[in-house]
Structure formats: structure tokens, C-alpha cells
Amino acid sequence: MSAEAAAVTGTTASRTNLRSLWGVVREHPMATVGVLLLVLFALAALLGPLFVGDPLKTNPAHALEAPSGHRLFGTDRYGRDVFTRAVVAARLDLVVGIVIAGLATAVGSLIGVAAGYFGGAFDEIVMRVTDIVLAFPGFVLALILVAVLGDSVPNVVVAVAIAYTPYFIRLTRARALAEREREYVDAAALAGNRRWQIAYRHVLPNSLSPAFTQAALVAGWAVLDVAGLAFLGIGIQPPRAEWGVMVAEGANDFLTGAWWTALFPGALIVLLAMGFQLIGDDLQGGEK
């Protein structure tokens, strides 16, 4: 193929890609909104801290200033810039949400596939344990776990991830139960694969799609949970820049009329959770 011909096919290809992208956008408007929200948060998390100052810098002279062109989100009672703190917190909240969802998905699906594929006593034990875990409201369980483990970001992540893992175990197990009856599993057994190889090479990859859908939703819920824990004073602690912490601190100022210290971080929590939720809902609708 000559260079020009290559160039021509190149442009046609990119045009086709653009058109199919537009098709996707039109077919999934809500998910597109979700993706755009997440992209904005990701950019803020990635680049934001480079442009704003120190989130912990206090300035008593400018305490509780209302939002203005100079201070977009105003300042809190210590004179810290709310916008700066909100931007810096984006990194923490986004990463925490994704890591919790990822951890719960990874651990849950590994256990779930083993339970579904191997069955027997192992399955029985896993199912009863998930029943026990699911008997607690997830948030309360996470709260208890953090109280036991101690306040720190990794402990919060682990605690919330544990609360969500049973969902992934159940989802993947159910799918693995169906997948293990498929012919390719028999074919893999005939080809001399060992049982664990069949479980993790063949059944697992084909049992993940419900878990991925769930992961998007759980990431959103996890953001809410982490912020909720911080609001209650458990887990992530002040003065760290975290939206839940900021809402908790701002809640007191709210009564004195300084609405901005709690409202902005609160709105960001909602928007981030909504971004995940919109994507998750759309994936769930497309799940066959």
C-alpha cells in the first residue's frame, strides 16, 4: 500500500471512529455525563494540586470569607481556602473510591469463582460467611472495622472494601455456576488443564462482567461511605483535606450563615458518586 493510500484510509478510519463515538454518546447520554464527570474529577485529581496552594495553610485574617472571584469557594473558620482544599481532596476521594471498588472486585471475584466452580464444603463456608457479613449494613460494618483497626486511610479502604466484597463473591459465584456447565469448560478439562487452571483461566474471565458492572456502582457508594465515616469523625481525620472531613468541619459554620464551607465539598461528593452511579446504571442496563 502506498503512503497516500495509507493516509487516506487513516483519515477514513478516524472519521468512522468519530462517528461511532457520536453513536455511543447518543445511545448512552447518561453514561456520557458520568464519564465527563469522572474525567473532570480525574483531571482535578491529577493536575489540580499543581495549581493550588497548600491546603493546610491557615490565615486567621481571612477566616470565613464568602465565595468571591478571588476565593471561589470562600474560606473556612481557620482561613483555609475551601477551593484549594476541595481540589486537593479530589485526589484522595477519587483514588479511595476506585481502590475500594478494585479491591472488593479482585478479592470477591477470586473467592466467588472458587466457590462457584469447586462447590462443596468451601462454597458452603464462603456462602455462610457472606450471609453473616451481609447481615450487617455495610456502612455500620465499615464503621466497626475502622473503630477496631484504627483511623488511617489504608484502614478505611480495607474496612469499606470488606463490607462490599460479599456482593462480588455472590455475583461471580452465580455466574461461575452457569459458566462451569458450558462446553468450553469440558473442553479445557479434556485438554488436561488442572481444576484450578480451569477455574482461573477459563471460568474466571468469563464470570467477571457482572462484577465489573457492580464495581462502578460500588466505587460511587464507597466515596459516600468514606466521606460519611469522615463526617462522623471516624477514619480520615482533620486537618486532612477530605470532602467528608470538610463537610463535618463546615457543618458548625452552617448555623452561623457560612454555608459555603460545607456546601461545596458536599456537592463534590454527590457529583463524584453520581458520576460512578450513572456509568454503573448504564452498564447494568446493557448487561445481557
Binding site: 469440558d186 473442553a187 479445557a188 479434556l190 488436561g192 483461566r201 474471565p205 468469563n206
Partner: protein
């Protein structure tokens, strides 16, 4: 010694009646043996039993199977030892037999690595060669494709390539062309024939398509309701069927106005009765049919399971099992 020798195989759901009763099969190297029967006649169950893939609810009541003298199946045993390279299967639904999330080249390569102990690089190269061997053009490209990107015929070729990678002594083909169009079907048959000639393996060819049997098979076994009705060379089966069920099966190929009187509607086999399983539909049914008919040999390779015409030929030495 036959390549594959199945003797007195009986299967059933645990604690319930026997589904497959006293099935005997032999297969020689380089031979294609058709296994014919209606849906539910036990064709696939027989295959799954031989491969150790029976669903957990099924149990082997009696019987043995050997490949080149090595036992591959025993009564009571659930998972039978899989002597690597003895037996493999081409499944009914090629798309289902391929892992949807793995590239087809990698799937062929997996067999080479697991069964034949090839390294990753060797396996990748040989997988492409095998795909080319089964008539896939652009094998390098196809090796990188996922099953959903290939047509049904292509998928079946990939499955055959996997079977080839296995180098089995016995290949079980379970309705390998169901759902494929006639031209592709002919190509797959031709390919299977070539493989048999090339590798000298034996093939159990499971089908309900008598035309395919005439095309492909050296010998045929007819199953009905889990009972082996008749085994003969393909030519004898079509020209001199001995068993009323085989005759009925061949009648069905004739134009409708020339068909004899057979109860066409199947009332369903009652597996709990001890007698011949075709008795409830058989036009020649008589009092002896209430017992299970032994397998009678008329000549070297022609066996059938019926009391009809046995008064003169019945000989204890020829019976595989006394009633």
C-alpha cells in the same frame, strides 16, 4: 485387540433407573464408527462417560472401556484417569466449545502446552501451523481473533485444530456439523476424513443424520433408548438391517407413500421396564420382548439386539449376556 473396546456399559442417575443399558462398542484404528440415534437415545451420554465428563448426578453402574488395552472407564469410578493423548472430543456447538475471552490461537496453544509440554513460543508457532492445517486461510490473523469474530464453520475448524493438537488415539465427534450449512458440513467431513487417514486415529462419529453416516462412516452402531440395537458395517446396515428399529429408521428415508406401518409417534421410553426398549413401538413385538434381548452376532461384524429370528440362531456362545 481393538483400539477402543467398550463392554457392557450401563449408566443411570444415582438411585434411579438405568438410562444406558449394556452398551458394547469396538473401534479400530483408522476407522470411523457412526453412532446413530434419536435425541435422548444415549449417544452423547456414552461419549461423556468415555471422557469422564458425566454430570455429577450420573453414575456408571457396570461396564469397562479400554483404549489400546488401558482402562479408561470402570464401574463406580467417577473421574477416570485421563491417559494423556488417549481421547478427546469435538463438541456439538463449536462456539460453545471455545472460551469466549481467549484468543483462538492461545486456546490451541494451551492444548499444546498442557498436553504436549511445549514452551509458549513453540506452542504459538505450532498453533498457527495447525490452524493452517485445518484449512484456515490467514491463520496468523485468525489466531489473534476471539471466537465471536469467527463464523461457525471457522470455529469448528479451530476446535478440530485443538483436537489435532491433542493427537488423540480416539476422537469423539458429537454432531460436529449441527448448525453449519451444507457446504461447510462437506468441508468439515472431508477434513475429518483426512485427519483419520493422516493420524490413524479412530473416530466415534455421533449423529442423527443418516446421510452423514453414509458419507463418513465405515461402521455404524444404532442406539435407541439407551440400548444398543445394532452394529454393522455401513453397507450392511443400509442393505440388510436386522433390527426392527434400524429398519424403521431406514424406512424414514423413503418417500412417505412407500413407508411401511410403524408407530411414528414416540410415546417415550419407559426406562424402568426390564425388556427391550423398542418394544412399545415395535410392529413385531411378542412375549419374549419383555426380557432384555442379548446381542446376537450374525456374521463377523454384524450384531443386533433382538429376539426376532433368533430361534434358529440363538446360541449361548454368541450371546454377550444371558437373559
Amino acid at each position: 485387540m481393538s483400539l477402543l473396546d467398550v463392554r457392557g456399559l450401563s449408566l443411570g442417575i444415582a438411585g434411579r433407573e438405568e438410562l444406558l443399558r449394556d452398551v458394547n462398542l469396538t473401534l479400530e484404528a483408522g476407522e470411523v464408527m457412526g453412532i446413530v440415534g434419536e435425541s435422548g437415545s444415549g449417544k452423547t451420554m456414552t461419549a461423556l462417560a468415555l471422557l469422564g465428563l458425566l454430570p455429577p448426578s450420573m453414575e456408571i453402574r457396570s461396564g469397562t472401556a479400554t483404549v489400546e488395552g488401558r482402562t479408561v472407564l470402570e464401574a463406580g469410578a467417577r473421574r477416570v484417569h485421563r491417559a494423556s493423548g488417549d481421547m478427546t472430543m469435538i463438541f456439538q456447538n463449536p462456539r460453545g466449545a471455545l472460551n469466549p475471552t481467549m484468543r483462538v490461537g492461545a486456546q490451541v496453544g494451551r492444548v499444546l502446552r498442557v498436553v504436549r509440554g511445549k514452551t509458549r513460543a513453540e506452542a504459538a508457532a505450532e498453533a498457527v501451523a495447525l490452524l493452517r492445517r485445518v484449512g484456515i486461510s490467514g491463520a496468523e490473523r485468525v489466531a489473534k481473533a476471539y471466537p465471536h469474530q469467527l463464523s461457525g464453520g471457522m470455529c469448528q475448524r479451530v476446535v478440530i485444530a485443538m483436537a489435532l493438537a491433542y493427537r488423540p488415539r480416539v476422537l469423539i465427534a458429537d454432531e460436529p456439523t449441527t448448525g453449519l450449512d451444507v457446504t461447510v458440513q462437506a468441508q468439515i467431513f472431508e477434513l475429518l476424513r483426512e485427519l483419520v487417514d493422516e493420524t490413524g486415529c479412530g473416530v466415534l462419529f455421533i449423529t442423527h443424520d443418516l446421510a452423514a453416516v453414509a458419507d463418513m462412516c465405515d461402521r455404524v452402531s444404532v442406539l435407541y433408548g439407551g440400548q444398543l440395537m445394532e452394529t454393522a458395517t455401513t453397507v450392511e446396515m443400509f442393505e440388510q438391517p436386522k433390527h426392527p428399529y434400524t429398519q424403521f429408521l431406514l424406512e424414514s428415508l423413503k418417500p412417505e407413500d412407500q413407508q411401511g406401518e410403524v408407530q411414528a409417534a414416540d410415546a417415550g421410553v419407559d426406562f424402568s421396564l426390564p425388556g427391550c426398549r423398542f418394544a412399545h413401538r415395535c410392529p413385531h413385538v411378542f412375549d419374549r420382548c419383555a426380557a432384555f434381548p442379548p446381542l446376537v452376532e450374525t456374521n463377523d461384524k454384524h450384531l443386533y439386539s433382538c429376539f426376532l429370528g433368533q430361534e434358529k440362531s440363538l446360541d449361548a456362545a454368541q450371546c454377550s449376556r444371558s437373559v
